[in-house]
């Protein structure tokens, strides 16, 4: 699996500072997002992971530096589960359909999806294995199913670039595996993917490319390049040990506890 960033560029950040209320969270960020990107952004809480994602999404603008992107870039975004009101009165199918914009050359979409739209929405739901839940209200889903629904809504747009904010936080181990496999498949299909994660062992170590962030870009490269004690110490400000297990990097901190907050959430 490749994904270290080859192929044509989609977005280019040069010397970007960004933050909120005139307070920069990120400094001097230079990132080129390629068509073949499959990248995890790692770093401690408050290090600017989500800010970086929001920059790439165009939700916030840089305070200085420049962002260029190709014309008509189709981006899809999977937010953290806590960001929406799950009591909102919509069904899973309604949620997926709302992401459908007017077809090319058409002025507007009908309120209810037409047969073609419904068929393709159901296709996406089937791919994510939640087709049987199409008519459920969104509150009646488990965390993993809610995550799949968000993914379905994103995929329904047939994006070129898929951005995900902590896609494995608050979901169980099997959903985490599913999400990883699904993202792998999507990447094979030619979708560029960037996600944030605090799960070094369960998520980051399985990705082809990582960016370590702590207000600056500390390092970037393959897990072999990046998951090393000296890089992690610079990123997290704490000494961590790195072991090798079946060819995978496993991070252990000095106290012997695994630095794997996702598994704590699941516990």
């Amino acid at each position: 699996m490749t994904g270290t960033g080859v192929g044509p560029e989609l977005i280019r950040l040069i010397g970007v500072d960004a933050g909120y209320d005139h307070q920069a969270v990120l400094h001097d960020v230079n990132i080129h997002v390629h068509e073949d990107q499959f990248t995890g952004i790692v770093g401690p809480s408050g290090s600017g992971k989500t800010t970086l994602l929001r920059l790439l999404l165009g939700i916030i603008r840089p305070m200085s530096g420049s962002i260029d992107q190709i014309e008509d870039l189709r981006t899809a975004y999977v937010p953290q589960l806590e960001t929406v009101n799950w009591d909102f009165p919509i069904t899973v199918l309604e949620c997926v359909l709302m992401a459908g914009q007017p077809a090319h050359g058409r002025r507007f979409t009908l309120p209810w999806g037409n047969a073609r739209e419904k068929a393709s929405a159901r296709e996406v739901l089937e791919r994510l294995n939640i087709a049987q839940l199409a008519d459920r209200q969104i509150r009646q889903l488990s965390g993993g199913q809610q995550q799949r629904m968000f993914l379905a809504r994103a995929l329904y747009r047939q994006p070129q670039l898929l951005l995900l904010d902590e896609p494995t936080s608050g979901v169980d181990v099997s959903t985490r595996h599913d999400v990883l496999h699904l993202l792998g498949d999507l990447h094979e299909d030619g979708v560029a993917i960037i996600l944030t994660t605090h799960d070094l062992n369960g998520m980051a170590a399985h990705l082809p490319h990582l960016i370590c962030v702590n207000h600056h870009v500390i390092a970037d490269g393959t897990p072999e390049d990046v998951i090393r004690p000296e890089v992690l110490e610079k990123t997290y400000g704490a000494r961590m040990e790195v072991l090798e297990h079946l060819g995978m990097r496993v991070v252990v901190d000095d106290g012997g506890e695994r630095v794997d907050r996702a598994s704590q959430v699941e516990a």
């Binding site: 975004y77 929406v84 009165p89 914009q101 507007f108 009908l110 488990s142 799949r148 498949d185």
Partner: protein, 292 residues
């Protein structure tokens, strides 16, 4: 039967009934978006703001006071939208300042110069007397506009209401959709103000939508239910107000409240039954077949 048919002999009552039913329907319809966005307070603020515009404009141009009040309301709505977005004040503070100031101005102007249009009390609590044909035409026009707007912008509006951040990056022009909704809201409040009254309009934006939310989990059905509850409140409230000889707005709101309490009681007992027995949660599907 007699009690239902008798008032229908009066033209003023027929007009009142038409306007009350349509007002209830319109506010119920738009109210769904207002409630789901957590903007109930905006409805309250806007009606007060429009009252200020209404009092101010009629001093200069009696025949245009509806137009003036409408523009005033739209300006306040857009100002609230802008202030709450661009500063750290938050919508509630913006509404508190902009609309209460406008209301205060309206009360002061009414007290000092009096009114050439509806009386002070009628403006506050609603009246079925003196409804003009122009007002009916205006209400029908605004209702049509609201329906067309929701029909054409249905998904964009739903997406912005549910998840504005993701809508924004999915090609929905969130700012524009929100501004359009604010304009429709201002016009709806303006068109229903005479029957329901400045101080009570907000209740009719909220009550039908909340009742509808308790009845259904589907968005499209919630729209239909809310419109229906609004209509019924308007019609029944108008009858009760005729017999009780009180301002129409008060009775429309009280009928709506009665429906709310009734449904709230039923929904509460239904939820108790549900939590006692069935759990609606679905177990995760086997992972081996997922993500293919």
């Amino acid at each position: 039967m007699e009690a239902i048919l008798e008032p229908l002999g009066y033209t003023f009552f027929l007009k009142g009934l038409l306007v009350a039913g349509l007002s209830g329907a319109l506010l119920g319809f738009i109210g769904v978006y207002i409630v789901l966005r957590g903007m109930s307070y905006i409805g309250h603020g806007l009606s007060h703001s429009i009252f200020g515009g209404f009092a101010a404009v009629q001093l200069f141009a009696t025949q245009f006071y509806i137009l003036g009040a409408g523009l005033w309301g739209i300006a306040s709505a857009l100002a609230i939208n802008a202030v709450s977005k661009r500063s750290r004040l938050g919508a509630d503070a913006a509404i508190g300042v902009i609309t209460t100031a406008s209301f205060a101005l309206g009360v002061a102007l009414f007290a000092r110069f009096g009114s050439s249009g509806p009386s002070f009390e009628n403006a506050l609590f609603g009246s079925i007397l003196g409804i003009s044909v122009e007002q009916i035409v205006g209400l029908v026009a605004v209702s049509l506009l609201a329906v067309i707007f929701v029909f054409v912008r249905y998904r964009a509006l739903l997406f912005t209401t549910f998840d504005p951040d993701v809508a924004n990056v999915s090609g929905v022009r969130v700012g524009r959709v929100e501004a359009q909704l604010m304009i429709i809201l201002s016009l709806s409040i303006l068109a229903t103000l005479t029957v329901i009254g400045v101080t009570l309009v907000a209740a009719m934006l909220v009550i039908p939508a909340v009742v509808a939310r308790m009845v259904t989990d589907s968005f499209s059905r919630m729209l239909a239910w809310s419109t229906a509850v609004g209509t019924v409140s308007g019609l029944v409230g108008m009858y009760v107000s005729y017999y009780a000889e009180v301002p129409s707005g008060t009775m429309i709101v009280l009928v709506g409240t009665a429906i709310f309490l009734l449904v709230f009681g039923f929904a509460g007992s239904a939820r108790r039954r549900k939590s006692a027995g069935l759990d609606a949660h679905v177990e995760p599907v086997p992972s081996s077949t997922a993500a293919r």
